[in-house]
């Protein structure tokens, strides 16, 4: 694996790093060394604001995933096997869908003549259809849908390892469910929550198809800027520099999370329990 990852990941990454110091806007060619690409990125408030927004979006998406994914993951873990079966399949299914298809489905749901609008108009909540697509919330909803399974599965895998006896004990001590959650379940589930949070965050900040198709270009995220820079402008050095900024800041975030939770999360050592 080491060889595979070094060959197929580190080498391209080094190539990427090297290209990000090239001057000009060539495609796959060029020589020289300059910090221009980075200077240009950080000196233009447009790019830095997109970077910041991308991180804020990623954070909000991860937070939403946590809030709605945790109860789901918890209930999945506590369900009897027979009831769990189909629900697990529903959770896994979005992971298997090609993005092109998912986006088509969302156009039907959120479009001006789509599901949500017809429902709201029929119920009389809004007088005439509203525009939901091409807005930031729409992009975030779709990102949540795409990455929620990662959160649910991560939470589920730690909860299954927390003995239900602990909860019963707490209940016997007349703790209500909220207290049980706050004092027992959540602290024990922290490693799983962090893994899920981490995955969702990293996946959201590097997303590019969703912001492009659902955001209609008015919602800009760094991932789609990188994609455009390389695929439309064929400007490899600048795209490489932006990709590297994203890579390093994403790593920094992951590292910060890991530091918070100690080394035991990713190593999977120590059985997740505290």
């Amino acid at each position: 694996m080491v060889l595979l990852l070094i060959g197929c990941l580190v080498v391209p990454l080094l190539g990427l790093l090297r290209s990000s110091f090239l001057p000009g806007s060539h495609l796959l060619e060029g020589s020289g060394f300059t910090l221009d690409q980075y200077v240009r990125f950080f000196s233009d408030s447009y790019y830095t604001s997109v970077l910041v927004e991308t991180f804020i979006d990623g954070f909000i998406v991860s937070l939403i995933c946590l809030v709605i994914g945790f109860p789901t993951g918890y209930s999945l873990a506590r369900l009897p096997p027979s009831a769990r079966r189909w629900r697990t399949l529903i959770v896994i299914m979005p992971l298997t869908l090609s993005l092109v298809v998912v986006v088509f489905g969302w156009l039907i749901i959120l479009g001006r003549n789509g599901f949500v609008n017809s429902l709201l108009v029929t119920l009389g909540i809004i007088p005439s259809p509203r525009i939901f697509l091409f807005t930031r919330p729409a992009v975030m909803i779709v990102l949540v849908q795409q990455f929620l399974p990662f959160m649910i599965l991560s939470v589920m895998s730690v909860i299954t390892q927390i003995d239900p006896v602990l909860e019963q004990a707490a209940a016997n001590l007349r703790a209500n469910r909220f207290t049980t959650f706050r004092r027992i379940i959540i602290p024990l589930a922290v490693p799983g929550i962090l893994v899920g949070f981490n995955l969702v965050f990293v996946l959201s900040i590097s997303a590019f198809i969703t912001p492009r198709l659902i955001g209609g270009n008015r919602v800009v995220m760094l991932g789609s800027l990188i994609y455009e820079r390389i695929m439309s402008e064929l400007n490899w050095p600048s795209g490489a520099a932006m990709a590297f900024v994203l890579f390093v800041s994403g790593l920094a975030f992951t590292a910060a999370l890991n530091a918070m939770a100690g080394s035991r999360i990713i190593t999977g050592r120590g059985r997740y329990a505290l």
Binding site: G15, L89, I90, M93, S98, V102
Partner: protein, 266 residues
């Protein structure tokens, strides 16, 4: 009294959230499948009438059928290789301590952060330099790199779960290390291995961006074919192909689920 109220409130809100979550997760797929059965010329919801004509068109379309075959073939290979590599390295990370271990772990998760287009072009450059772009290897290796983080995460979690007492007992009974792995460790973490295989399969099966750069010798994977198709033609054929993709992945999951039971997945 107060605690009852809170309990009830939590139970109700929990049920609402779960309901919402399952709807959100399933809805897009359901819509696509429903619209693929339209008898009309356009992709619309609700569909105009019911027919299987678009499925018949897919079946008659050599491009889509051969792309389906290429995708399936590559995804199965990727799943198998990813399992072997993922198990070996997860085992090493979980059971031994060695210099560079933290680096290895970080490395294994980093493909998630690299934008796919960058990975695609990087690999293209690398393999062009090696003169390998006419072969299946770039596609295989590219998908492998993408699948590794998921596979590692899943296998690491099951290894961490597993009691080492049994392995130690076997060692005490003078079993060789290989015997221990084959007879004890592997069977115990089988569910984890199989869900890792699912992740590897679906990662490879659904990828567009990296594949777009690494297609070889006129062979194209299904998602790339779909992407190119919708660029010039937009009809329910796409919904039908997508439904077939859902069907293939679902049948892979169901097969594995039959083997081990969904409750043990993930």
């Amino acid at each position: 009294m107060r605690s009852d109220l809170i309990d009830n409130a939590m139970a109700v809100s929990g049920a609402c959230i779960r309901c919402l979550v399952y709807t959100i997760l399933a809805l897009p797929a359901v819509l696509v499948i429903v619209s693929s059965f339209t008898s009309g010329e356009t992709m619309n919801f609700p569909p105009a009438g019911f027919s299987l004509r678009w499925y018949q068109k897919v079946w008659e379309n050599d491009l889509f059928m051969s792309a389906l075959w290429t995708s399936t073939y590559v995804a199965v290979l990727v799943a198998l290789v990813a399992l072997v590599i993922g198990f070996a390295s997860a085992f090493a990370i979980n059971r031994f301590s060695f210099p560079g271990k933290a680096f290895l772990q970080g490395l294994a998760f980093s493909p998630l952060i690299v934008p796919a287009v960058v990975l695609g072009i990087g690999l293209l450059q690398l393999f062009a330099g090696l003169g390998l772009t006419r072969t299946i290897y770039p596609l295989l290796l590219g998908h492998l790199v993408l699948a590794i983080p998921y596979v590692m995460r899943t296998i690491l979690a099951s290894l961490a779960l597993q009691q080492r007492v049994l392995e130690e007992a076997a060692m005490n009974l003078r079993a060789t290390p290989l015997q221990v792995i084959r007879r004890i460790t592997l069977p115990l973490i089988l569910p984890g291995l199989l869900s890792a295989a699912i992740f590897a399969f679906v990662t490879s099966f659904g990828n567009v961006t990296v594949s777009a750069f690494l297609t070889y010798g006129g062979k194209v994977t299904l998602p790339v074919q779909i992407f190119a198709y919708v660029d010039t033609s937009y009809d329910p054929l796409v919904a039908a192909v997508s439904s077939i993709m859902i069907l293939v992945t679902l049948s892979v999951i169901l097969t594995i689920e039959r083997l081990i039971g969904a409750e043990r997945l993930a």
